[in-house]
Every structure is written in structure tokens, then in C-alpha cells.
């Protein structure tokens, strides 16, 4: 049986095909975190209700994330494509929650 030869890669790869990532490209990568941040003004029951409404989560899961926001200052709610992350952040902000999307480096 012939052994499969492992190709040896050069130290420096040519830059062929490496393009600046466009918005269109980024939209299809699930590389964005939707994060909710703590503040002293949003009521805990309200935050739980918003998570249930926006994500369709059962109460227990929504409460878990609400408590994480409350105790740890933030909670990562989901990891999505740019387009979906924008959608969720818009939904959360429309309920006046402090939510952002961040690149998952």
C-alpha cells in the first residue's frame, strides 16, 4: 500500500484568493455573539419575559440568562450570522434592553 505523501507547505503562502471580507461574506458566518448587558433599571421579570418573547425560550432558560446578566454583568445569548445577530439585537433594543453584537474572535 502506498503511503500518502503529506504535502509540504511553503512558509509563506501566496496571497491568492485572500480577499478582504465583505459584509456579504460576513453575513453568512455564524461568528457574532449577541450579548445582553446589565443595568440597574430594567426589571428582572421584564428581562425574562423579553428573552422568552424574542428567542422563544422556556421560562427556565430565560431566567437563567437573566440571572447571568444580573450577577455577572452580561450574558451571551446566542452565536449567529451577522444578519441574524442584527435581527436579535434589534429585537432586544426595541424592548429597551442593553444588547449588542460582538465578533467572536
Amino acid at each position: 500500500m502506498a503511503a500518502i505523501e503529506t504535502p509540504v507547505l511553503p512558509d509563506t503562502l501566496p496571497d491568492l484568493g485572500r480577499k478582504e471580507k465583505t459584509r456579504e461574506h460576513l453575513e453568512h458566518e455564524p461568528g457574532y455573539l449577541v450579548i445582553c448587558w446589565n443595568d440597574p433599571v430594567n426589571l428582572m421579570d421584564y428581562v425574562t419575559r423579553v428573552f422568552q418573547t424574542v428567542f422563544g425560550w422556556p421560562r427556565q432558560k430565560a431566567e437563567h440568562h437573566m440571572m447571568q446578566v444580573h450577577r455577572e454583568g452580561r450574558s451571551v445569548l446566542t452565536r449567529e450570522t451577522l444578519e441574524k445577530a442584527e435581527h436579535y439585537v434589534h429585537q432586544l433594543q426595541s424592548y429597551s434592553l442593553h444588547a449588542t453584537l460582538e465578533r467572536d474572535e
Binding site: D39, P40, V41, Y46, V89, H90, S94, S96
Partner: protein, 155 residues
């Protein structure tokens, strides 16, 4: 404001006349949060995130105008806020409660911003200039209405 019952797809609440007046005043204040308050991201600004910020601001503005139109239509519909005896009865569907919660929380958070975003809301007494007192009032009243609506949804 008291939750009375859920009947024929609507939640019914009893309000005293003073509570009804307060609710209408709060709705008139919506939206109170400045458009620039919400940020798409706290991270380093990139071309993609700047585009996202613009999209979110436009979407939020459109959504707030729509919510304002919807909630005013509900309140002004003759069968939703009716005088009963010495008080009022407010009847809302589940989706309409969500709209009202959005309105109330916007005014609550917007008032908190105007108050200087105090970290400790239970600090007594909050040292406030006289012209800021209506915003403390609005923040507390919104919280009171929100809790009643949330308890009704959970019941």
C-alpha cells in the same frame, strides 16, 4: 391598576381614574430614549459594524413609530378603555400587552437616562433637582404598570 380576569382572548385590568390619567400621560411621553443611545456593538468600529449601526437606528426608529401608532389606536378604540362605575376597565390582547410593555419600558429607561443613570435606584433620598422629579415619578409609575402587566401574563 389591578388584573381582573382573562376573558375571550383579552386581559382585563381595573384602573382608578388617577391611574388611567397617569397611563395616558406616560404613553404621550413615548418614545423617550434618544435614538443614539443604543449601540450595535461595544467593540472596535469597523465598516461592517458602522453599517449595522445605521441599519439598527433606522429599524428602531421605524419600529418605535409603528408601536406608537399601534398603542394609541388601541387606547383610543372605544371598547378598550371604558369607564365602569367610579373607575376604568382596560382590555388588552396578549400582543397589545407586549406593545404596552415596550412603551412603558422605553419611558422608564428614558427617564432613568435623564436622571443621570443612577446606579442605585433605592438610594433614599435621591438628590434631584426639582425639574427632574417628574422623571423619577415616570420611572416609578412605569415600573408599577409593568409589574401588573407581567403578573397578568404569568397568571
Amino acid at each position: 391598576m389591578k388584573f381582573l380576569q382573562f376573558s375571550e382572548g383579552r386581559f382585563q385590568f381595573r384602573l382608578e381614574t388617577a391611574e388611567r390619567d397617569m397611563l395616558l400621560q406616560i404613553i404621550e411621553r413615548y418614545p423617550l430614549i434618544p435614538a443614539a443611545y443604543h449601540r450595535a456593538s461595544l467593540g472596535e468600529s469597523t465598516r461592517e459594524l458602522e453599517a449595522t449601526q445605521k441599519l439598527l437606528e433606522e429599524a428602531l426608529e421605524g419600529q418605535r413609530q409603528e408601536t406608537r401608532r399601534q398603542i394609541k389606536a388601541v387606547i383610543e378604540a372605544g371598547d378598550r378603555l371604558q369607564r365602569k362605575g367610579r373607575g376604568w376597565v382596560l382590555s388588552l390582547g396578549r400582543e397589545e400587552i407586549q406593545w404596552l410593555l415596550q412603551v412603558l419600558n422605553d419611558v422608564r429607561v428614558g427617564s432613568w437616562l435623564i436622571l443621570g443613570q443612577p446606579e442605585e435606584l433605592r438610594e433614599q433620598p435621591l438628590k434631584l433637582a426639582e425639574d427632574k422629579l417628574p422623571f423619577l415619578w415616570a420611572m416609578e409609575v412605569c415600573g408599577y404598570f409593568q409589574m401588573t402587566l407581567l403578573r397578568a401574563l404569568d397568571s
